[in-house]
């Protein structure tokens, strides 16, 4: 028995511990390096920072921050409320159709807010034109209402996804037992909600962060929000320290929210996939207080899916337009696919490297930090980092959009693998360790197939998110390496709506396909994980 046979008690290592540590350091350089580089620059000029902070705080800054927090809070709370109402209703709704359709909005999980906004604006214009022809006119929608609505449809799939997971963790037998003694609403409050609230909280936090970080919809609706400030500050003067100061409260809020969900994320990962009997139907809800909100939420969900598909589809017709758009933007399409593919692959490698190290909640929280960093800061920080002496080789190359995508989204791949690895029956891993150890054959034959759903889900989640990423890519794209999203954003601001629709439809289809793979993989992974212990 050699010294190499001494076993690590964490999940298996893919290579030697040194290789894992080197991989983690590389990940930290790419994912946390941009923020660290920005912070270092700020610390180096601390006197200027304080002066600048005083100047910026004296401006309209705090009011804008408050407005953005209220907006994000309202959007995420509404999204979660609709998701909870929808899922609770479909769980006891008669017939299979609502139970199946409830999953449909998840296909739009990776569709960015500006695509929803484009679709809804396009639909609004079509309806308005139709009404004008019969002598009617819609009242104009205030910009802020429009922003709330469009961000709501954009973040709804996130809230819905976690609510569905939360409900799957509740035991129908407990619900049924409660219904013998109390009304549906009381049973929901006292029995179901306590079982699912930690998971729903994760959905709320992520929806809140997405809304807080989004400036694409507000800028289209000409509403000022805090997220735009850092971007504008940098665009005006190329002053990264000013951008950091402006985005600092946003960063702090994001970090606090991320840390707050690290423990629930870990709990979610290590809990059994679902209790025995989960998925069993619950008798029809008798209380209108559950039924009516559920039906309203169902209508919202159908609209949320139908409008982007129909509006962009109709606007992109005839098919010749779509074909010519593809031909015209071939270079952007290829750039987008290559960037997204490399980002997904690199993130999956980092996920394998990080997995055995994620043994505590603080470590998990560290991995989630990049999700809290505003995209503008990632882009600005990446410019600072990758122009440092010794690192400037990659600057202004096609690697830059990949690096900023990995910086932002690799935690998603890491979390997908973390969840999959912990959902897999631990004895399947232990059985392999008893008979073959952690060698290459075990990795190839046991670990990778068992974790494949998490790896695929991570790859396609990062792929889809990168495909639609705008802010950081806009800042670091080298000349001649524009992605499709950047092209769409430029066209939107020049008002070329006819050409935009076809491009948006392409991105929409790409995002939907990526989302579909993510969910298929995770559903398959959940089945396999359960099967092992049966």
């Amino acid at each position: 028995m050699s010294q190499a046979a001494v076993l690590s008690r964490a999940l298996p290592l893919a290579a030697s511990r040194r290789v894992h540590v080197a991989g983690i350091l590389l990940w930290a350089l790419i994912a946390i390096g941009p923020l660290a580089a920005l912070s270092a620059t700020a610390f180096a000029s601390m006197a200027d920072v304080l002066e600048m902070a005083a100047y910026l705080i004296g401006r309209r800054w705090l009011g804008l921050l408050a407005k953005s927090i209220v907006l994000a809070g309202a959007v995420s709370t509404l999204a979660v409320a609709l998701a909870v109402a929808l899922v609770r209703w479909t769980r006891s709704a008669p017939g299979r159709v609502p139970k199946r359709l409830v999953y449909l909005p998840l296909l739009l999980l990776l569709v960015p807010p500006y695509l929803h906004a484009t679709a809804w604006i396009s639909a609004g214009v079509t309806v308005q034109n139709g009404l004008v022809q019969i002598g009617l006119q819609l009242p104009s929608v205030p910009g802020m209402i429009g922003v709330v609505w469009m961000q709501l449809v954009a973040v709804f799939p996130v809230a819905l996804g976690f609510t569905l997971v939360g409900f799957r963790m509740t035991d129908p037998a407990l619900t049924e037992a409660g219904r013998v003694f109390a009304s549906d609403l009381v049973v929901f409050r006292k029995i179901e909600w306590p079982q699912m609230r930690a998971t729903v909280l994760i959905g709320w936090v992520l929806a809140c962060l997405l809304s807080l970080a989004d400036f694409s919809v507000p800028s289209l609706m000409q509403v000022e929000v805090f997220a735009l400030e850092a971007f504008v500050e940098y665009s005006i003067a190329a002053d990264e320290v000013a951008a950091l100061i402006v985005a600092f409260p946003h960063l702090l809020i994001g970090l606090a929210l991320m840390v707050s969900i690290a423990a629930p994320v870990r709990t979610l990962a290590i809990m059994p996939a679902r209790p025995s009997g989960a998925g069993q139907a619950i008798g029809a809800a008798t209380s209108w207080s559950l039924r009516v909100p559920g039906q309203i939420a169902f209508g919202f969900a159908l609209l949320q899916v139908a409008v982007p598909v129909i509006a962009l589809g109709v606007a992109a017709l005839p098919l010749g337009n779509l074909a010519s758009s593809i031909a015209e933007n071939g270079r952007e399409i290829v750039n987008s696919l290559i960037t997204a593919g490399f980002s997904g692959a690199l993130s999956v490698v980092f996920a394998l490297v990080a997995l055995p190290m994620l043994t505590t909640v603080p470590r998990l929280a560290v991995v989630m930090i990049p999700l809290a960093v505003p995209a503008a800061l990632v882009g600005i920080g990446a410019i600072g980092l990758w122009t440092l002496p010794g690192l400037e080789l990659l600057y202004n190359t096609a690697a830059m959009p990949v690096l900023v995508a990995v910086a932002q989204f690799s935690p998603v791949a890491i979390l997908a693998l973390f969840v999959q690895a912990h959902r897999c029956d631990r004895t399947l891993i232990e059985a392999a360790q008893v008979y073959r150890g952690d060698g290459l054959a075990t990795w190839r034959t046991i670990y990778l197939p068992l974790w494949a759903p998490g790896l695929w889900a991570g790859f396609f989640a990062v792929f889809g998110l990168t495909l639609t990423e705008l802010t950081a890519t806009l800042l670091v794209s080298p000349p001649g390496r524009q992605t499709l999203t950047v092209k769409i954003y430029s066209l939107l601001h020049y008002g070329a709506s006819d050409r935009v629709a076809a491009l948006c439809l392409m991105v929409l289809l790409g995002s939907v396909a990526a989302s579909a793979v993510v969910f298929a993989a995770m559903a398959g992974g959940q089945r396999d994980g359960r099967r092992g212990s049966e």
Binding site: M1, R436, I446, L450
Partner: protein, 215 residues
Amino acid sequence: MISAENISKSFGAQPVLQQLDLVLEPGEKVVLSGASGCGKTTLLRLLAGLEEPDAGRIEIDGQLVNAPGLLIAPHHRGLGVVFQQPALWPHLSVRQTLDFVASAQHQPQGSANLSDIARACGIEELLDRQPNALSGGQARRVALARALAAGPRYLLLDEPTSNLDFEARTGLNAVICDFVAETAAGLLYISHNESDVSQIGGHHVQLVGGRITKP
């Protein structure tokens, strides 16, 4: 010989094993019983190298495998383990599972030997099935076949016949006894069931208060 000396193990503030001693000779059969939660599975996992003891040392065939700061990997211990759950890899067929385990043994295991094991365990007809196409009893037989395919010097079985009817239980126990008789492997067999105790024979010990006692 497996020799565990002064083994202690706690989970948080809860002591499970306290200065436990156990010896298992090649060819010897030991049936271990005890109340639920008394630490039987923990003891098996310690011997297999899936847990580390807080104190004490474990030797297998004269080789120190567990001591403070030392943990020899499970696959270097020459063991066959059947877990409480079958723990069959869901993406591998029965044949692939047996091949995967057998190919790790640096001895001429060969397909003939695997066929013998499959026949003995009554899974010849199941070789091309996936685990999700097996009944509970079939899965347990495959789990045992996997342990035997490893060519172990010691078998550690954690309630391998739980949830099986009397006939299936008797059949599986006969396979285990035959293997031990043929290969002189040591056997540690955890069970609550009286019929298992009588069918396996050998020594019957109990785990009480974190230590091994005679019933």
